[in-house]
Symmetry: C2
Subunit: 471 residues, 2 copies
């Protein structure tokens, strides 16, 4: 086991791990794997953070089985790392101290859909795609859309995921009604009922949402659903300047126009998408907007949006209401991430996710663009600008130490810039291993409060150690 050298100190040694794996094999049989390829697949695979595989992978099928694993792991003092679809971008599923990866993909039952309450209950391994396919015939959908269709709802809750729809429908913070979770001592807790509001004690739901598997393993969750809107209108418009595009977004939010999505692609991002998707869009900062409502209200909104956009220097204004035309209009946005890899083949990419108060958005993006230019980096920008949240996608060669140093400097300045504007180093990807230092700069003494909570709930530090903060 390659990670054995890390296992000194507080955790069980190699023989403890062997005993634990033997006990787990008795329970799980073929649902336990220790082959290197499988272990590596269950560590960080999507980003430049080094792959740190667990000692073994198990596939539980019930909350009770998850509790059994956690209890046994506690006895042997071995870490447990929950694993959804592995789409995390900050090393959340790595096993820096070894341990057992708990792959929840077999916990994929949709337990109940309650159309009258606009909610549902699912197991943690249910994916977004699976849930939304299941809901389609009921005229409902689950609105949180981080881009990855195969992301599991448990993983999305654990990382407080959001995405394009958050400006209207909120993030996982607003859309998780309750979770069932296994605590570090193996006890099973349900954090609340399904009433839309509650003042019944500490908000355990919101505490576990975004806790990245460090406080509990989420095994089941109840989610808010939304009715598929009667009318959906898409609009796309390029702007003379990125400042104009940002200011249009700010006004849209301030007027409470009720947009469902408002996304910005900068000129470099449009260029990449033109190559990847064989489009011929004008290489200018461009807003992609979606408006949801009744036919009358979306008509009103389109007119209001066009007026704002023109006043902010929109060069053009295209809109569409039927599904196919909308899809064509939004294709550039959907292909944004993938296009960067195509445009610069052989390079690595990473994705940042700072967020700032909306009034500082134009300033933050403009300063960041200037920083990208000064640093000699290539880094297209795509943003959920309605939330003040934007991604840069730096393109780099991880074997070129000078390039990596330049990139690290840029990342540190970007976080610092957002924090100085009363924003955050992470609007939606979470801290994981990648942003531990940025979180310290952002939260100061707050990190110590997080550590106290962690020590109170997981005194042996067996749940996903080495994420969010060091202990």
């Amino acid at each position: 086991m390659g990670t054995a050298k890390l296992h000194a100190g507080a955790y069980g040694d190699v023989s403890e791990r062997r005993r634990l794996i033997a006990s787990l094999r008795d329970i799980f049989g073929a649902r336990l794997a220790t082959g290197e390829a499988m272990r590596r697949q269950h560590a960080n695979t999507l980003t430049w953070i080094a792959n740190e595989p667990p000692d073994a992978v198990v596939w539980p099928e019930t909350t009770r089985e998850v509790a059994d694993v956690v209890r046994l792991a506690g006895t042997h003092r071995v870490p447990v790392i929950p694993f959804g679809a592995g789409t995390s971008l900050e090393g959340h599923v790595n096993a820096p101290c070894g341990g057992i990866a708990l792959d929840l993909q077999r916990m994929n039952r949709i337990i109940a859909v309650r159309a009258r309450d606009l909610d549902c209950t699912v197991e943690a391994g249910v994916t977004r795609r699976q849930l939304n396919q299941h809901l389609r015939d009921e005229g409902l959908f689950f609105p949180v859309d981080p881009g990855a269709e195969e992301a599991t709802l448990g993983g999305m809750a654990a990382t407080r995921a959001s995405g394009t729809n958050a400006v209207r429908y909120g993030t996982m913070r607003e859309n998780v009604l309750n979770v069932t979770a296994v605590m570090a001592d193996g006890s099973i807790v349900k954090t609340g009922g399904r009433a839309r509001k509650s003042a019944a004690g500490y908000d355990l739901t919101r505490l576990l949402v975004g806790s990245e598997g460090t406080l509990a393993i989420i095994t089941e969750l109840s989610l808010r659903l939304a009715a598929i809107p009667e009318s959906i209108v898409a609009a796309v418009c390029p702007f003379a300047t990125i400042d104009g595009a940002c200011n249009a977004s700010i006004q849209v939010i301030q007027l409470g126009l009720g947009v469902a999505r408002i996304e910005l692609l900068d000129a470099a991002q449009i260029g990449a998408v033109n190559v990847h998707s064989k489009l011929a869009l004008e290489e200018a900062p461009t807003l992609f907007v979606e408006l949801n409502g009744t036919p009358a209200s979306t008509r009103e909104q389109v007119a209001a949006f066009e007026e704002i956009a023109r006043a902010c220097g929109a060069l053009d204004f295209a809109w569409a209401a039927d599904a196919d035309a909308r899809r064509r209009l939004w294709q550039a946005r959907h292909d944004a991430f993938w296009s960067v890899g195509t445009r610069w083949p052989g390079k690595s990419v990473l994705v940042t996710d700072v967020a700032v108060p909306i009034s500082r958005l134009a300033e933050c993006i403009t300063e960041t663009e200037a920083d990208i230019r000064r640093s000699g980096l290539v880094a297209p920008i795509v943003g959920h600008v309605g939330d003040g949240n934007f991604h840069t996608i730096p393109v780099f060669d991880p074997s070129n130490l000078r390039e990596v140093a330049t990139l690290r400097g840029f990342l540190a300045r970007l976080s610092q810039r957002a924090i100085a504007m009363e924003g955050t180093c992470s609007g939606e990807h979470g801290i994981g291993q990648g942003k531990i230092d940025a979180l310290k700069r952002e939260m100061g003494t707050g990190v110590e409060v997080m550590r106290q909570i962690k020590r109170g709930l997981d005194p042996l530090n067996i749940l996903n150690p080495g994420k969010i903060f060091t202990l």
Copy 2:
């Protein structure tokens, strides 16, 4: 000091308390009081829960002073109880173990209003009335409306308050962007920035919102604001049956009609209001609705609402758009609580606040009405039915032991009924001292998780002990 007999055990004894008060007098001078009347005013005064006064009251003016009090209290192992306006209904401000009441009313500065970001930062002692008066000229308002104009925003955050507007604008859970708080060790923590979303570590903001002063003292907070809507329309309609009124509410929510408020008064409540406010409303279950939007969208909403209401057995339908007419139409709702005391003079009242999933609302209210009749109680009903949340207001004589026993039985059944419907014993008033047993029934093992968090953050149990759970 009348509560000295309770101070045995873990807390500092009478001489420790004397030394603490002497130290505090050195700092606070005339901003410290030990007179009995003042101490009693800073304990529970609004409900039937016995008044348990603190040993002394102090009026800090800065976060730093709050930290000084908490640090000194920790040294002497004496409790600290934060106090806003004293409008809590569940004994949150009582001092069952004695201690220092920390009255935050002098921390009443509005630090910043940022219209472009639709947010503001205030000290904890700022009241709703004060903030909304300050905002009026900017065309903005703070939407969370628990009824009490003089409630402080710090207290509202600490109890996760909500009220009539929550169906559209959310509760304190959704409207607090961050808090500055003093932890049990006297350290000062800011729980986040002002970005609309964040995935930066544990959600300390949501953990402190609703923690009832048991984890930290909130001294400052940033809040989301809303634009005063262009068009506000009020509608009132009596129904043949309470079931019809509930079903109309359910459909309104399911259709996503975008109501800002939807309130139910039952026939007994309308009767009380007719007496109190000299009105002549039909004594029938009645919905009070407010719709916010553009002129076009509110027109659309009124029409849709009237159609739903008629189909559910509405007996009449009155609506108004100008401010004076709206106020007249809604007067019965605004006067609801006060009318109960007028209608049954000399009696005590209390207010329950269960919430259930909206699909169970009609059933829960109907069963509760039957229970009220069977128990021989008088208990008008008024509810924020859009959230599945409703109040009963039992009228009773606290010196009549049989009446009190009947009432206690009713309260236990009401909580149990809501919990069995996957609802909560408290939609908005919190747990305090009054619902400790109900919370145990509702949360089961979750209460132990709350205790672990409490022990992690306040190992000496000096912050508002005896609330939410026993340790």
